[in-house]
């Protein structure tokens, strides 16, 4: 696979209470100058592009809310990327957008820029849930955003949904999933609500105002998600990701799960060249200053040891429907996971949590629900 390019846009109209990404609210002026700085960072990487091994064939705008950038800004960034880096002519461009930013004009402009996937930050079709999550749109806006996106002719219309809200019932969650299917989306990403340190939800939790759904119930919703979407013909190709057909998978995100190199630009963005990983300054101002001084805004880096590489490979690949490529792992790290864990793997199989096909270890939905525990057990124990 060829490398991918990630562009982080940290702006949001408001900060959601569960979000721990590098985000900020910022006025229009700030956003304009941000696009320029992003373009400047891209140029700083020009001479090192070769280390990523070939032309970038995906461009992914994430955030934050990339749709918060005006079309001119987005265009200038794409242009800068094409000038500075080897970008494939047919590079697949994805854009995360908020439902309230989806209009006939914007969709048309994004299409014009070459965007092929729009990923809608919907989170729910329930007004009460949207309110709890601090989202600025409502059910009807969400539904309309999907329809507009479809009408605009994007190759893939994807939606993000969140489950495991306190008190959420199985019915309420599966109704959300069914609604997404009915509205004809091509791709669904389902995330369980996670309370991160430093977020508003973490403060609520400490104050006793928010009680997380117990693990057992979360596990039920997790397994039910697969049931509903696979019944509707979707392919569950990763722990949290479902595509209408294999052709509707996220081309960019699959690179992460396969250790394919990627370059990330923008505040907090991570990059990986196959052995080294580094990450940018998280704070917008610090990131801006460093880029403006003509420096690469790197805040930290690491070189992965064989063992670390192996742990990552196991924990990432087990998340996917292709499972863990045992031959590839042994070739890259010298670790024979099966030989080391024969009895354990047999127990996973007996418990209906995994299957072993030729040279791959593939988790079933029940196994996927505890992927992290399995990865730990296989590599670390």
């Amino acid at each position: 696979m060829r490398p991918g390019l990630y562009l982080h846009v940290p702006f949001c109209s408001a900060i959601c209470p569960y979000c721990d990404f590098a985000v900020t609210t910022g006025r229009r002026e700030k956003r304009r100058s941000f696009a320029e700085t992003l373009a400047a960072e891209l140029r700083l990487w020009g001479e090192s592009a070769a280390r990523f091994g070939g032309a970038f064939d995906t461009i992914y705008f994430g955030g934050g809310t990339p749709s918060a950038l005006e079309i001119e800004g987005l265009k200038s960034v794409v242009d800068a990327a094409r000038q500075a880096l080897p970008i494939a002519g047919d590079a697949w461009i994805s854009l995360e957008v908020n439902p309230e930013d989806v209009s006939i004009e914007t969709t048309k402009a994004w299409r014009g820029l070459g965007v092929r996937t729009v990923s809608l930050g919907l989170q729910s079709f329930e007004d009460s849930e949207l309110k709890f999550l601090g989202r600025r749109h409502r059910r009807d806006e969400a539904e309309q955003a999907i329809l507009r996106a479809r009408d605009a002719g994007f190759d893939i219309v994807s939606v993000d949904l969140i489950f495991g809200l306190p008190g959420q019932s199985l019915e309420s969650w599966t109704a959300n999933l069914r609604r997404a299917v009915e509205l004809g989306v091509d791709h669904v990403s389902c995330y369980q609500l996670t309370v991160h340190e430093g977020t508003a939800f973490a403060r609520f939790q400490k104050a006793g105002r928010l009680v997380q759904m117990p693990d057992g119930e979360q596990g039920e919703l997790f397994v039910a998600t697969r049931g509903v979407l696979e019944d509707a013909g979707f392919v569950g190709y990763e722990v949290s990701n479902f595509a209408r057909t294999d052709g509707h998978r996220s081309r960019h995100n699959e690179k992460y799960w396969r250790h394919v190199p990627y370059l990330g630009v923008g505040p907090s963005a991570h990059s990986f060249d196959g052995r080294h990983r580094w990450w940018n300054e998280r704070e917008l101002t610090e990131w801006t200053h460093r880029v403006e001084r003509g420096e690469r805004p790197i805040a930290g880096d690491e070189t992965l040891s064989g063992a670390e590489l192996a742990l990552e490979a196991v924990m990432l690949q087990l998340r996917t429907s292709e499972g863990l490529d045992l031959t590839d792992l042994q070739r890259r790290t010298g670790i024979d996971v099966v030989k080391k864990n024969q009895a354990l793997i047999e127990r996973y199989r007996a418990a209906g949590m995994a299957q072993l096909d030729a040279d791959r270890l593939i988790l079933t939905p029940r196994g996927l629900a505890i992927t992290d525990a399995i990865a730990r057990a296989l590599v670390l124990d």
């Binding site: 990630y6 990986f272 505890i370």
Partner: protein, 599 residues
């Protein structure tokens, strides 16, 4: 010699033994008011906190009596708990008389009786002191009746006092001088002295506390310890006057200390007889019995890398505690530790607390066990105190377990429940009789193993604290003992195995299984927790599998973070013990083994 009095104070726990000792010391001017720390003789923290005496101490007092003569009073302090009756016996052997204290409100209790019997066995003169007469609840007349009817002592010979308020102290001292006999000796007999206690001094080594019966002890004398068959040269002798006071000799009838270059307390035996190596006595003093541990438990450090620390702590502790036996032990689940033998449950408690408090150790103790006699089909007899060494049941012809004679004194309204309690604890013969109106003594023969478990706590609970209890080991009796194993995921957890009567096995196993299922976190798979006798499962619980352990999002920036999280979670598990591929946190062992005493 006629002006020497060797005596001890015996009493039921909490009847004021140490307080009276303090007042006697004070009254004889051995210590100034400023030096006076309450309960001088109880020097260990735990002793002071619990109000009990564990390690006996001894002091020599000079008393100018009302008859104008100077007396040397040797107060030999004795431990005040049934576990230490062995030490009490040795102390009594050094005396001619005993002060028996009876609490003016509590009256005669189980240990009052037991202590009196011990004193009488040793032919001691008794001075009965009724203490705490200042208390509003004091009822001296009633207590006098009890002394008459329950102890068979003359109720009009008592000395009333309040050690706390300092009332009647001179009367007590006069009683000691007048009512208790002085020592006697066999003129010209070879030297014999009793070692009734020993202390460890980090500069001088072992300090022997001795009572001289015949002859005398002097520096440079060569002495032989008759039972352990060792010879030493005396470096120093003297009196114990709170601090050691060097003398040039210890004559017949006197009590004092001997330093003879002995390195560790393990080299000597308390109760041994000292004689002159050049002119040895033909026979040692009578009444010697080696200290035998009756309760056994394995002690493990909470974290296996603290084993070295525990080793050092045990060594230091053992310097001062000749009764504690220990040897290296190891458990698959808990790593290295020590198999220890104790004189009783209180002794076990005291050792555990001292290790925790004085040496700052975090410990896990296995379920206490008694010593079983196991007779095999091939005629061999093996002694087993550790479930790990219990022979294969098919090779066992029969098993015998130690029985005690329990003596329980309670107000009459509790007879029913306490008889029932004895029955539940597999009592063999239980009967009762009235000591005096309203007060009943129950005598029961029951297995020591049951008493170890929770008998005393339940007795206290049933009788609202009024029940008192004492016991003596009597014999070994045939019994149906089985080894119960606890299996986690089909593998036995060695530290949780125990020997128990077949009738009680199922309940105990179930309780262990319940505790474990509550404390072991959910795992990737369902985990059976079972109690088993051999191949037969007698109890079962299940730990459910956890349902979810996966991070939702995992994209570019999440990969490092997530990897580090997994590594951190792994480190958190390093403290767990792996049995049957199940991670068992230390807390689970603590919870299970602690439940023994709390429930």
């Amino acid at each position: 010699m006629e002006n020497i009095r060797n005596f001890c104070i015996v009493a039921h726990i909490d009847h004021g033994k140490s307080t009276l000792a303090d007042r006697l010391i004070e009254a004889c001017g051995a210590v100034t008011q400023r030096e006076m720390k309450d309960q001088i003789l109880d020097s260990m923290d735990i002793e002071r906190e619990r109000g009990i005496t564990i390690k006996s101490n001894t002091v020599t007092l000079q008393y100018k009596a009302l008859d104008g003569q100077e007396y040397q009073l040797n107060l030999i302090d004795t431990p005040g708990h049934v576990d230490f009756s062995h030490e009490v016996r040795r102390s009594l052997m050094a005396c001619e008389g005993a002060i028996l204290i009876v609490d003016a409100s509590q009256g005669v209790e189980a240990q009052t009786v037991a202590n009196l019997y011990l004193a009488l066995e040793n032919d001691l003169d008794i001075l009965t002191v009724v203490n705490k007469i200042d208390l509003p609840a004091a009822d001296v007349e009633r207590v006098q009746e009890e002394i008459d009817s329950e102890l068979g002592l003359d109720p009009f010979e008592i000395v009333p006092c309040s050690a706390k308020k300092g009332i009647g102290i001179v009367d007590v001292l006069e009683g000691v001088v007048k009512k208790l006999s002085g020592p006697t000796t066999n003129e010209g007999a070879p030297m014999r002295a009793l070692i009734f206690d020993a202390q460890y001094d980090s500069y001088r080594g072992v300090v022997l506390l001795v009572r001289v019966f015949d002859g005398e002890l002097k520096p440079k004398q060569s002495i032989e310890l008759m039972h352990s068959d060792k010879v030493y040269d005396i470096e120093e002798v003297g009196l114990l006057k709170l601090k050691r006071e060097k003398m040039d000799r210890l004559g017949p009838g006197s009590v004092g200390y001997v330093i003879a270059g002995i390195k560790t307390i393990r080299d000597i035996e308390i109760g041994d007889t000292i004689t002159d190596a050049e002119h040895p006595a033909p026979e040692p003093l009578p009444g010697y019995q080696p200290a035998k541990p009756v309760v056994f438990s394995s002690i493990y450090p909470m974290s296996s890398n603290e084993y070295e620390d525990l080793t050092r702590a045990m060594e230091k502790l053992a310097l001062n505690d000749a009764s504690l036996t220990y040897e290296k032990d190891s458990s698959v689940a808990l790593g290295f530790g020590f198999r220890c033998g104790f004189l009783g449950l209180l002794h076990l408690d005291v050792v555990q607390e001292r290790l925790q408090r004085e040496y700052d150790m975090s410990l896990i103790l296995s379920a206490p066990s008694v010593l079983y006699h196991v007779f095999l089909h091939d005629g061999e007899k093996v002694d087993v105190d550790n479930p790990a060494y219990f022979p294969d049941p098919s090779s066992i012809a029969r098993v015998a377990e130690p029985f005690i004679k329990a003596q329980i004194i309670i107000p009459e309204e509790y007879v029913g429940p306490v008889m029932e309690l004895c029955r539940e604890n597999r009592a063999d013969e239980t009967d009762f009789h009235y000591l005096s109106p309203g007060r009943v003594e129950i005598r029961s023969q029951m297995p020591l193993a049951e008493v170890l478990f929770d008998f005393y706590d339940r007795l206290k609970g049933l009788t609202r604290g009024y029940g008192s209890f004492d016991y003596d080991l009597i014999d070994y009796r045939h019994t149906d003992i089985v080894k119960v194993d606890i299996l986690v995921n089909h593998e036995p957890v060695d530290a949780l195995s125990q020997l128990i009567h077949r009738d009680k096995a199922r309940n105990r196993a179930l309780r262990y299984c319940e505790k474990l299922s509550e404390t072991i976190p959910r795992q990737q798979f369902k985990i059976p927790i079972q109690g088993a006798i051999g191949g037969t499962i007698i109890a079962r619980k299940t730990i459910g599998a956890f349902r979810k352990d996966v991070t939702a999002k995992c994209y570019g920036g999440d990969v490092s973070r997530k990897r580090k999280l997994l590594e951190k979670q792994k480190k958190g598990k390093a403290k767990m013990k792996i049995v049957g591929s199940v991670e068992i946190p230390q807390e689970a062992f603590v919870a299970v083994l602690r439940s023994d005493k709390q429930e």
